[in-house]
Every structure is written in structure tokens, then in C-alpha cells.
Symmetry: C2
């Protein structure tokens, strides 16, 4: 695992540099809005999606610099969705990535606005990325817009399902929308930027979709089996709120079995890459064995 | 005024058709999210920004079809910002365009999500507009992203200024960001789509900036002088909340004087258009004499 940990650290450093440049600590007022955006952006997130995009880009030979601006945009969308999902009227969470959520720290209005600003900036950032050809930027914005809309749909389904009886199909649909779409886009985007063939891009998208599902199943298991302190967010919260989770439908043991099966299928999606797929394969392992 | 009223009706019909196609009443669940988006989108808004974009486009000879997709995207951004600005933690408003605000009708969580989805769809819509060349789409997304970020900044400044002492500069900055940026973009976008020269585009942007300022001054005056029923939103609310408004600084009479001066300057920005600027000139009048 040491290679992959090193890669994750490298990817995080690259995307952090981009984000710090895109949303600097000093600048035009209002200071409070900027602080709130940075509070959530630089809360020590793992930068899983940017790392995935970078890994997919490298697998097909893209220069890092061509990938990182879009990777930063993806992290902005991810962070905005966390800020909004944590709001009192949504999941009402006080803790995120080990510290106060944005609205606990800056108030609800500023948290909503910080999320809104991050979403706008994400699309603007890609539109103004001179490293990419116009057509590529447009594919990125179209795909990211679609993923961002899916995330909203997933969150709405998730809220509607609370306390309701849910079936396998609904849980999968919630997860595919809420987390799967952006993870799948991240993988796909790296391949597109690298100029991979349509066939290879479709395989990478399939890999991303499966990885996203795996990510979420493990998330559901961790929510029930780990402590708040190791998770960095409130543990046991989903079960308490009767959320639509894999563990609620299958139980923990069966959920692990499903996770292992999906991990194998995910590996299958990138078999064609051979040794070029080394990091992408390691990411599957990383998602499977994580503790937070 | 009959020509301009007819034009406004025509523009509204064109953009409503686009919006109805882009976010149809029937489709994938969740129904509640779709209903909430349409509730606010089709609340009888005047479609001022799409009309402005269409007018600017026609002044330089753009085909309507090339303008309307971006115009719909602008209206999505405008509507999303109204939904979020009305939220309890922001301006806490119950009434908008003569009916219940989105969160009063669908709850706070769904209102936040409906706004979020509209923002994502706005950018996706432009990215996928095959009527426009890639480079034009990118200019549109960059400009719209910038305007959307400005709107958030304006709203944050507005909230921070409540009950504080404010000066002319701050009030102008709030308004330029909160409403001016999107209005200026709307005018500019029409010219860009039509392929106007850089010089002409800059003039149209200047026209849009001034028109936006005029729009806001009149808005502030109406808030103090009109009744709730004619406004379609709660009257007198800004004064009660000690908002940063022109009327609070200058009083009503002086605000009218300033409005007239800006109207003249706005007319000056499009003098170069001659008879081609007829509708753009009428829009200045329309903004000046409106009652809601």
C-alpha cells in the first residue's frame, strides 16, 4: 500500500495547490464568505476524486497539468455538496472531516452561499482552463453539470426515503446519484483529457461507477462499525435516522460480501489496461480497506 | 409602450418554451424536486433578463434560436438565486412573484436542492447548446459563472450590511454584484452570440451595467412606495430589515433624480446603435416606469 499512499498524498498536494490559487485566503471582501469556502475546502479531505482523475489521466498518458484544474473543480462540487447536505434542514450534521461543519462555524446563510459560490466557481474554472481545448472543456462542463444534478437528485431521494421502507433498487439509485455520479465522472474525465478512445473511456466510466458503489457500501458499513473519532463525522447517524443504506437492507456481513464482489467486478473493468492500470487497481484496494 | 410590451411577451413565450423543454413536468423521479423547480421557474416572472439578451442579440442580427438556450440558463440562475435568497436563514420571505416562496411550499431542504439543481442545469444547458460554437459556449459559461459568483458576493454583503451603517459605495457594490452582474451579462451575451465587435460588446456591457443599477434603484423605491399586492412580494421589507438601499441613503425624491440621470447615461451607451437600438432603448423606459 505504500505506493498508493504516496500517490494519494501527491495528488492531494497538487489539487490543494490549485485550490489555494483559485480561492486565495486574501482577496476581495466579503472575507467571511471566502473564509467559509476555505474552511470546508481545506478541512483535510482525502481528495479521493481528484486522485482518481489524476490516476485515470496518467493511465492514458495525460500530463498532470491538464488534469488538475478540472480535478479542482470536481473537489469544489464535492465540497459544496457536503456543505449543503450538512445543513440543519438536510442531514443536520455538526461534524465533518473532524471539525465543525460550515454552518456551525459561519452560520446557515453563509454556508448556503459558500456552497453556491463553490458550484459557480467550479464551472467557471473549467471554462477558463487554457490547458484544455474548447471541445474538451465543454465535455467536462457537460459531464460535471450532469453529475452535479445527479447529486441533488440523490440527496432528495435520500431525504424522502428517511424512515420509509426501502428496497435494493432505491438504495442503489440513491447511491449511484448521490456519490456514484461524481466518482464515475472523475474517472471518465481523466481518460477524456488524456484523449483515450471512446471504448476505453466507456470502460473507465464503468470502473468509476463500480468504484463509487463500492465506496458507498464501505461508507455504510463504516457508519455502523467505526467510532466518530476515526470517521471524522458523526458515526451511527444513518442508522439512527433510518437512512436508506446497504447495511439496513443486507446487514453488515452480507454488505461485506457484496463489497468484495463489486471490488472484483471493478478490477475487471480495467483489466485491459495491464500494468498501466496499477494505480487504478490500488485505488480499489484503498476504498475496500479504508477506515474513514 | 405597446411595441416593447409585445416584445417582452414574445421573449417570455420563447424562454418559457425553452424552460419547459429543458425541465419538463414529467420525467424521472423525484417528482417533488421537479415540481419545486418548476414552481419557482413558472411563477409568472417577467423574464426581464432573457428579454434583454434577446434584444441585444437582435440589435446585432443574431437569430433568436442562437440566443434562447443561454437566455434560459440565465433565467435558471436568476430563479435559483431568488429561491435561496428567500430562505429563512437569508431574507426569510413568504411571498415571491405573487405566490408562496419555494421553501414555504416544498420545505427548506427541497428549496435548497431545487436551487442547486437549477444552477447545475444552467451551466450544463449552455455546454450542450449545439447552436453555438464551442468557443462561444465557453465565453458564455465563463461569463455566467462570474456573474453567479458575483450574485453570491452581493447577497453576502447585503446580509452583512443589515442594520449596519452603510455608505454610497457599499450600496452600489451590493447592487452591482447582486443584480447588476447578471443583467450586464445578459446584455453582453446577446452581443457576443451575435458576433458583435469587442468595442460594441463593451458598450453593451456598459449599457447592461447601468440598466442593472437603474433597475435596482427603482426596485428600492418601489419597495417603499408600492403595496405588497402590486409588487408580488412583501413590500416595505427592506426598510424594516434596515437593508442597504438607495432610498435609505438618499431618500425617495433624490433616488428618483439619480434614477433619471442613470437612465440618460444608459441611453448614451447605446447611441451608436441608431435605429437598431430601438428595443434596447425601450427597455430603459420599461425599467424606469415599472410598478412591480
Amino acid at each position: 500500500m505504500s505506493d498508493i499512499n504516496q500517490f494519494i498524498e501527491e495528488a492531494a498536494a497538487l489539487v490543494n495547490k490549485e485550490l489555494d490559487w483559485l480561492i486565495p485566503a486574501e482577496g476581495q471582501p466579503p472575507r467571511k464568505l471566502r473564509d467559509a469556502m476555505r474552511w470546508s475546502l481545506f478541512a483535510g479531505g482525502k481528495r479521493f476524486r481528484p486522485a482518481l482523475m489524476l490516476a485515470a489521466g496518467r493511465a492514458f498518458g495525460a500530463a498532470d497539468a491538464k488534469v488538475m484544474r478540472t480535478a479542482a473543480a470536481v473537489e469544489m462540487i464535492h465540497t459544496y455538496s457536503l456543505i449543503h447536505d450538512d445543513l440543519p434542514s438536510m442531514d443536520d450534521d455538526d461534524l465533518r472531516r473532524g471539525r465543525e461543519t460550515c454552518h456551525r462555524k459561519y452560520g446557515e446563510a453563509t454556508a448556503i452561499l459558500a456552497g453556491d459560490a463553490l458550484q459557480a466557481l467550479a464551472f467557471q474554472t473549467i471554462a477558463e482552463d487554457e490547458q484544455l481545448a474548447s471541445d474538451t472543456r465543454i465535455r467536462m462542463i457537460s459531464g460535471l453539470g450532469q453529475a452535479a444534478a445527479c447529486m441533488v437528485v440523490g440527496q432528495q431521494l435520500d431525504l424522502l426515503a428517511e424512515g420509509q421502507s426501502v428496497d435494493e433498487e432505491l438504495v442503489e439509485s440513491i447511491h449511484q446519484n448521490k456519490t456514484g455520479a461524481l466518482i464515475a465522472f472523475s474517472a471518465e474525465a481523466g481518460a477524456i483529457i488524456a484523449g483515450a478512445s471512446d471504448e476505453a473511456t466507456a470502460s473507465i466510466r464503468q470502473y468509476g461507477k463500480r468504484l463509487g458503489l463500492l465506496f458507498q457500501i464501505v461508507d455504510d458499513i463504516l457508519d455502523e462499525t467505526e467510532e466518530t473519532v476515526s470517521l471524522g463525522k458523526t458515526a451511527g447517524k444513518d442508522a439512527a435516522a433510518e437512512k436508506a443504506t446497504f447495511t439496513r437492507i443486507y446487514g453488515i456481513e452480507e454488505s461485506w460480501r457484496i463489497a468484495r464482489r463489486i471490488a472484483e467486478e471493478t478490477t475487471g473493468s480495467i483489466e485491459f489496461l495491464g500494468t498501466d492500470g496499477k494505480i487504478l487497481r490500488s485505488m480499489i484496494e484503498l476504498v475496500s480497506v479504508r477506515r474513514s
